[in-house]
Point group: C2
Chain length 246, copies 2
Amino acid sequence: MIDTLDVFSSAHSFKEEDLRDKTVVMIDVLRACSTMVTALHNGAKGVIAVGDMDEASKISRNLDSKSFLLSGEKDGIKIDGYSLTNSPLEHTEDVVAGKTVILNTTNGTKAIKRSNHADDIIIGSFLNLSAIVDHLRKIDKEIVLVCAGWRGRLSFEDLLCAGNIIYELCSGELPNSARDGTKVAFGLYDKFADDIENSIKSSNYAVRLDGIVCEEDISYCCQRSILQVLPVLNQGIISDSNGKEQ
Amino acid sequence: MIDTLDVFSSAHSFKEEDLRDKTVVMIDVLRACSTMVTALHNGAKGVIAVGDMDEASKISRNLDSKSFLLSGEKDGIKIDGYSLTNSPLEHTEDVVAGKTVILNTTNGTKAIKRSNHADDIIIGSFLNLSAIVDHLRKIDKEIVLVCAGWRGRLSFEDLLCAGNIIYELCSGELPNSARDGTKVAFGLYDKFADDIENSIKSSNYAVRLDGIVCEEDISYCCQRSILQVLPVLNQGIISDSNGKEQ
């Protein structure tokens, strides 16, 4: 399985055709995927990822106003008329249970849209890492880990999370036959595994948003396998496939 | 210097504006940059990188037929009418001395063209690694290592070479403040430093071109710091800046 697994380092680093018939794990650690996983864990009915406020308002117009919440921020400040920012810590059970969360996220949405030829799209983060790994072990399809990145560049934390998934899947022994992206993610994880939280706290994201995104958000997103959620995209809505099985 | 240094993992992973006024080291280990470095070491007057045969023939039409050589291949076979393939080992002194080499290279040419806002563009490879490092230590500008990659994806060998340059620049101690791309390249190098040749021999490039590119080519390109060439792009022509100083 590791031989055919691939890792793409940003939403710009692949052709849509490259994902045809594959299982895609979309990774955007800070913070879109961590927020989705948290919202679903806390009972949200579903999450809809949108690329901007226009798309959010277009979708929300067709929904009963009590059935959804708008999450998003501009320059770190909650958008006028929105219920929540992008912080996972605001997506608590009493706020999101039973609701559909419409989440503004530029890089994550782009990665999801460019994965439209994939067979399945699953949402990955450190928070639900073991649920992802358990699922990938069971399937028989080619797997691609798509890191959302930032404006076409790689993001340290996304590639580190991809590396952690790979490390678990191959029990720490990467075969020589692994592909380039897989080796890069694995190498990064191998180097920084002992210091995930601190290394992410000095990542470009953290530096770029210093003073805007609180440190608690980042600490929270660095916790591994604390939520047994397996978010799967279906007809534009991300919902918890593990929850459904239970 | 390491704090402001950045690494881009492919020709698609940055905006042209990101390189404005910076010093770019363009890295395409297999084989474009290794071939350029070798040709210049062996006395080629200059190298012109082109993206396809049309561009090559357009440029060559304006030159005296004895002054240049065409290098390139299609599916691993020398192109009709060309003197050489892309193999660095064919660019020997008796073949290239005094000539301008017009080299067909898709990913490398794209990376060079997208770096047109840079202040300087230098050609990097394992072969001239110490010449690159010596030069970077002397300059006072922001540095970007641009890995050519393959069709927008990262390439193991290019990122590994970037990691090796960074490792030398920071004497093996990467500060926490390093940028994401820098940490990724450093992590990769840290993992595979002891086994560069073997790890590159199992890279996507080597697997993709198995039977087309000979193993000797790859072994040759994995040698570190054997050539003291500093190829610099000037008005479309790459020539040896170290050679000129001597």
